[in-house]
Symmetry: C2
Subunit: 581 residues, 2 copies
């Protein structure tokens, strides 16, 4: 490709609304162009990256036996009403009426449509297993789209859906995708982790996120450097502390803590470690009658150590809270504790509440909590001696660095990640409500066991940039670079030798199947180099008159601090040897 | 590919709403699956065809120097308001409101967005010419979607847009696309014609349609078998007859024609050729004031020969009618002619009307027209003698078979076609209203000269089928067949020899880059052959135990009446030799 025939449109300034590096750099490098909030044109330079991502995903999906199809972007509402998602989903589901006032949606995913295809086309167990996928435009009407392609409204997703006879088959399909995803992410050339994720109400352990490691990632990833344990924060288990509870050694004492309503302030005031304090959170659950009216409410007090954070997903699995909970209202809190939030605790409540202690809190001795009286805390609190044992002990907190790894093989570390893939066992979540069945060997209809498997095709390049950039611009891995090699001639318009050498190297590399671009725009060297460093092409060859006279051309990888001199006659072979993809 | 790992879902019955062969066959062959009116899933078998069409289009567009990008499917209304299309377009433009009640459209084409990109990114004449294209999902909310992919609502289109400095540049860009389109359509392996089309108000001759020839086509294509002249019906010129008008030889006579209000009926009653009659059509034009109120109307009488049809596009170019016209109302007709439609003519009108005669009518002698009196016609009418010469003489009719070719090289023939491509010179139609300018060499801003170039990616397979099918199913050209070769083993589960031979042929062809499928489903031969004849794979090899014993395998092209025996050892080479793509 010659640059003059391509569309290169780099910008000096990043857009004012660009908060993250990938948004700034993709815009400045002319890869994306904003059309509206969260809606971007994929410009020629950016589209080349997206097409490479698509090609890798497609190859590995096909290799894993998945079959590609393309479902409509605009989908009639009827199927979405069958599963109830047409009403249940919030405004992120873009709803449309056509000229006949019929309801449609712009697909955010395609579970309903693919399940409908399954129930019509996969009639016999003999046709199973089957995995159907598409790489197609999706739309989610995010309330606050931002970060460029990281959280856009229109995006391209690869979504795959597996159909199996039974749970064992669904597990095999899931594992085949787990393997394919590792092959895909290995090929991208990015540092990533496959982390266990929570599978919600469906249960089982069949949910994994594929996270590209980046300091700017929105997700916390928990892993064990000494083993292959990795999970997201929602899922990572905080083990119960080893050994029994320490014996009580201090008397229980009501202590004035005027104006100190947080654990941090109390610990500072009393000059004790934050780890000796206990944080209170008040929740409520409701019982309803047939009409959906609340007939009875129960108030819950959840306790975690002062330096720990509550984990809502884990809370949602505590028996009694696993059918939904809400935060208690201030009147409910006053009614049960006799005071407003800030000084709450399990001792001397006005009315009984159910107490759930985090595993860590359950083994604490001589701890500090609110006195249920404004401006007072209680120190030296001990289970059994000063209050009954908790109603329940559970893992309800986020893990922290240094916690024991759940696999018993070392200590946990935490880093940040960007979720670009997710594989998920669905079970019969869609097949049962849509009555999607096949005839099994015994002649009886059975609902499909399903799985779904997504990759954010347009998010991946953004994640790659968050991980790989410097102050000059993007640094693409070879596999998804818009061009692998850029040939930069200096003074091509003045020197026939430079022109000839540059064109020959370009043509030779192109003939060898290398994705090469020749910068024939006639820009000055400084501007030319700045453009290609911004765009992030990994391999660069500079061809100058002086170099040709000396018989030495300059090669530089985007990560290299300086150029390497290469004998002119060996440049082709040298560059070919540098390419990893 | 092994059939067992693919998704093959053929149907015995065509859907009830399928009116044309391509709709019937694509549905029965499991290539498309209806989700809603005019909305289809491209099933795996159909998607393979679409991907091949896309690949050919992409290769040739790139070869012609066009640059690919991807514009959003969901587009903010603002740009569409700049050109006025947001309001002007009818309900076929699918309009949406997002969660913030802002207006959006689902793209039917992308002139506005690409012009916006041009005005921002193409700032200097040095960046021109540039041709930007996308292959992307489009939506048109057709009032009556039908014919499967022929007139769907959601479809895939390749749309390209060229930007030039001036008209000469735009002509070069147009010609480059004209050449690329011929290369594309040549590669599809279909019979097609590039036909001159009307370019409407923009003028010039720079508009061509690419029509796939098919008896079921919606469009009439006019061509000259003795030359390369070809045009669509709207555009094809009917030349003025050679030689002068014949002399009058009959007296003008008022003749009773009770109840005979059509030329056909009158000719039959009077036992004269239909070519001696003249058909009347009454139009009106309105003059309006600043407020858009009609202040004055003019009634027009248009005359074509009884066996000819009026051509509205041509009528719209007659001076005086070229700013818009409408059909006259019945009261207007009665006011001017003294009678209702059915017996109208240019003689003895009650009020003066402007008379436009078709070129053919202008040279007729002794003709027949309505008497402006119910149940009466006039025979033996002659221009000059019985009525004044017409106010205007123009080409206002459709050509018919046998008319002289406008290039003077023979006679015209007519066949039916399906429009699958259209290239069009736009001029400054979008750049001027959107103020899309570049800085020219003289430092002054000038509006882009533009062109647009479309190919109906998902319509093309349907057109291919309309042209190539028989009672058993589809017959794909090699270039866009879902698979080029199908290997059909008979009794693969019973015979290890058959299995081995079938797998070897499949593997060898696959390794040679041939798109081959091995039917390992274990279907009986009759059902298996019927499936592949329906799907339309062009090359088939049957491998049977008997054949292997005899050392002869059976090859059959989808168009062949019978199979050809090929020595078993030569099958691979034989099949390779048969492939054209």
């Amino acid at each position: 490709m010659r640059a003059s025939q391509f569309l290169i449109s780099t910008l000096k300034e990043a857009p004012a609304d660009a908060e993250v590096a990938s948004h700034r750099l993709m815009t400045r490098a002319g890869m994306i162009k904003k059309l509206g909030a969260g809606i971007y044109t994929f410009m020629p330079m950016g589209l080349r990256v997206i097409r490479k991502v698509e090609a890798i995903v497609r190859e590995e999906m096909n290799r894993a036996g998945a079959v590609e199809l393309t479902m409509p972007v605009v989908q009639p509402a009827e199927l979405w009403q069958e599963t109830g998602r047409f009403d249940k989903m919030g405004p992120e589901l873009l709803r449309i009426k056509d000229r006949h006032e019929r309801d449609f949606v712009v697909q955010p995913t395609s579970e309903e449509v693919v399940t409908d295809i399954g129930r019509q086309e996969l009639r016999s167990y003999k046709q199973l297993p089957k995995n159907l996928y598409q790489i197609q435009t999706k739309f989610r009407d995010e309330r606050r789209p931002r970060f460029g392609l990281m959280r856009g409204r229109e995006f391209i997703m690869k979504d795959a859906y597996s159909f199996d006879r039974d749970h064992a088959g669904a597990q095999r399909s899931y594992q085949a995708m787990a393997k394919a995803y590792r092959a895909i992410f290995d090929r991208f050339g990015l540092r990533y982790r496959a982390v266990a994720a929570d599978s919600g109400a469906i249960g089982g352990d069949l949910s994994e996120e594929f996270q590209v490691i980046a300091a700017t990632g929105e997700d916390a990833i928990v892993y064990c450097p000494e083993s292959d344990y990795a999970a997201n924060m929602e899922k990572a288990e905080a083990l119960a502390p080893k050994g029994p509870r320490e014996a009580a050694s201090k008397p229980m004492t009501k202590t004035p803590t005027p104006g100190k309503s947080t654990c941090e302030d109390v610990a500072a005031l009393l000059n004790v470690p934050l780890q000796t304090t206990v944080k209170s959170l008040v929740l409520a659950t409701d019982e309803t009658n047939d009409k959906g009216e609340v007939v009875k409410s129960q108030v819950w007090l959840l306790l975690v150590r002062g330096d720990h954070d509550m984990n809502e997903i884990k809370v949602g699995k505590v028996p009694g809270l696993d059918n939904g909970f809400r935060f208690a209202t201030v009147p409910e809190i006053v009614e049960h504790f006799g005071t407003k939030p800030g000084y709450l605790g399990p001792i001397n409540t006005k009315k009984p509440v159910k107490v759930v202690a985090d595993r860590e809190v359950a083994v604490m001795a001589d701890w500090i909590c609110g006195a249920n009286e404004e401006d007072f805390h209680i120190t030296g609190v001990n289970w059994g001696r000063d209050l009954p044992e908790p109603d329940a002990v559970a893992d309800i907190r986020n893990v922290v660095e240094g916690d024991a790894s759940p696999d018993g093989k070392g200590k946990l570390a935490i880093e940040r990640g960007i979720e670009v893939g997710h594989i998920f066992y669905l079970g019969t979540k869609y097949s049962v409500p849509m009555n999607a069945t096949f005839l099994d060997e015994d002649g009886k209809p059975k609902p499909f066991e399903m799985g779904c498997y997504g990759i954010g095709i347009t998010r991946l390049p953004a994640a790659a940039i968050e991980q790989n950039h410097d102050e000059r611009g993007i640094i693409w891995p070879d596999a998804i670079a818009p061009f692998s090699v850029v040939v930069c001639p200096i003074g091509m318009d003045r020197s026939a030798d430079v022109k000839a050498a540059a064109e020959k190297l370009h043509d030779d590399l192109l003939a060898a199947g290398v994705d090469v671009i020749l910068d024939d725009r006639g820009e000055r060297p400084g501007a030319m180099f700045a453009d290609w460093e911004l765009i992030g092409v990994p391999h660069r060859v500079v061809i100058s008159d002086r170099g040709l006279k000396e018989g030495q051309l300059e090669y530089q990888h985007r990560r290299d601090a300086a150029a390497t001199k290469v004998p002119a006659g060996e440049v082709f072979t040298f560059v070919k040897g540098k390419l990893t993809a």
